[in-house]
């Protein structure tokens, strides 16, 4: 079943910048709070500690490149384990990945909305222009706008 040496890359797929941007948004959003956390824990050693983490990331760069280079399929850890162990273990990895994505999405959305909320409270000037948006509860409206929003988004992202 594992498709050996099959490349599933889309012909004319995403280039370097869009691909980097998509995952870059995820990883760089952590810049917003990690410095504070590191300083609280490590004090003056925080920059050193963060450099060390960057070193660990360097190791994982190699690891990811090897795995994905050998099996260029979506799915990350799931895919690696599927091709080396059982479907059960691979599904476990997939569950963890889904959990982490779900948590990212919910937490980031909530935090984004609250940041926006904090600007709105601090700045009456801005509030004048955006008072038609109620930032505190995006969810139900989201759901109802989901399908129409599609068309709008696809037109603005392709242009």
């Amino acid at each position: 079943m594992p498709p050996e040496s099959v490349t599933e890359h889309k012909h004319g797929g995403l280039g370097e910048l869009p691909a980097t941007a998509i995952c870059g948004n995820d990883i760089t959003s952590s810049c917003l709070y990690v410095s504070a956390l590191a300083i609280l824990q490590a004090g003056k050693w925080a920059p050193l500690v963060l450099l060390f983490v960057a070193g660990v990331l360097y190791l994982f760069r190699k690891i990811y490149s090897e795995v994905v280079g050998a099996l260029p399929l979506n799915g990350g850890a799931y895919n690696a384990l599927l091709n080396t162990t059982s479907k059960l273990l691979a599904s476990l990895a997939a569950c963890l990945t889904l959990l982490s994505y779900m948590a990212t999405a919910v937490i980031s959305a909530n935090e984004a909305v609250h940041y926006a909320h904090s600007i709105w409270q601090a700045l009456p000037l801005l509030a004048g222009t955006i008072d038609c948006w109620d930032f505190s509860r995006p969810w139900p409206r989201w759901a109802s706008r989901n399908l129409p929003g599609w068309r709008w988004l696809s037109s603005c992202s392709t242009s």
């Binding site: 869009p18 935090e111 989901n146």
Partner: protein
């Protein structure tokens, strides 16, 4: 959309750093020097290890690129990893160093939630602080977009491997796998409704699951070396690197579990506690966030 957000974010961080450097050249390094004169709390080793565990949060999101390789052109994947690594290596330590040069350590705790905005106020004034808050809103929305993309990639793969029901594969006429997207969206909403917005537990789930995914990736790599040694691959990670990487993440994971209630995503909790009273009723008015939060710029 993702590109615009990303570039804006990088630009904002660069502006913050430049403003900080500018501020320091005019106001001297007194704060930095006095920060470095402070004795380390507890032992040095303790500070380093717990700091390391906290700093592991700074690389969450690294795994996301692997979940949409199929959508990337050939040979792009290693470049995305390299670019992410460069960004993290420059900005995370850079901003921490800058924070040490601008804010005395005892004050960091007071501004924990919005340290960057506070740094902006110190270095550039109110405008920079606002810029950073706007940027935070945007980039966090971008992170949501990323998770939708990653999930779609993963779920499609799993469905193709027949781990999940086949109706998920259905695509709409624009080529988006809308059933996966809607399903994931409903999942997110249900979590929010069930927890009533109190996401402390979810933050713990987040760190632990992402660190576990990294460990599993490393394990997958080892197994790949052992069991599928002949599969052609462009890059080889050395054994030492793999084992050191896994070990480092395990250290982070172990310490995280002991610590996660106290310090995870403090900004979130702080802000959340303020505004839990409003019901779901008056949410009908925001119409700009949802656009950024959902979907797939390139599928179309």
């Amino acid at each position: 959309v993702a590109v615009a957000i990303f570039l804006f974010h990088i630009l904002t961080l660069s502006v913050l750093i430049l403003a900080g450097v500018y501020f320091i050249t005019f106001n001297g390094l007194d704060v930095l020097v006095s920060n470095f004169r402070l004795p380390t709390e507890g032992s040095l080793g303790r500070a380093l290890i717990f700091g390391f565990a906290a700093a592991m949060l700074g690389i969450s999101g690294f795994e996301s690129s692997a979940n949409f390789v199929e959508e990337q052109a050939e040979g792009i994947f290693p470049k995305t990893l390299r670019n992410m690594w460069i960004v993290v290596t420059i900005f995370n330590p850079g901003i921490a160093l800058l924070a040490l040069a601008l804010v005395p350590i005892p004050e960091v705790a007071q501004h924990q939630e919005t340290l960057l905005a506070h740094m902006g106020t110190l270095a550039g004034g109110q405008w920079l602080s606002v810029l950073i808050s706007v940027d935070a809103t945007l980039v966090l929305s971008g992170a949501v977009l990323t998770s939708f993309i990653g999930v779609t990639g993963l779920v499609r793969r799993m469905t193709l491997d027949r781990c999940l029901p086949q109706f998920l594969l259905h695509k709409n006429r624009r080529g988006a796998s809308h059933r996966i997207i809607i399903g994931f969206f409903l999942l997110g909403v249900s979590v929010l409704v069930i927890t009533e917005g109190r996401l402390e537990a979810l933050a713990g789930v987040y760190t632990i699951s992402f660190l576990a995914v990294m460990v599993l990736f490393g394990v997958g790599n080892i197994l790949l070396k052992v069991k599928r040694a002949r599969l052609p691959r462009p890059v080889h990670a050395s054994w030492v690197a793999v084992i050191a990487g896994i070990f480092a993440v395990l250290v982070g994971l172990a310490l995280r579990q002991r610590h996660h209630e106290s310090d995870l995503r403090p900004g979130l909790f702080h802000l959340l506690s303020a505004d839990r009273s409003g019901g779901l009723d008056h949410a009908g008015k925001n119409r700009h966030l949802e656009g950024m939060l959902v979907f797939h710029p390139w599928y179309q």
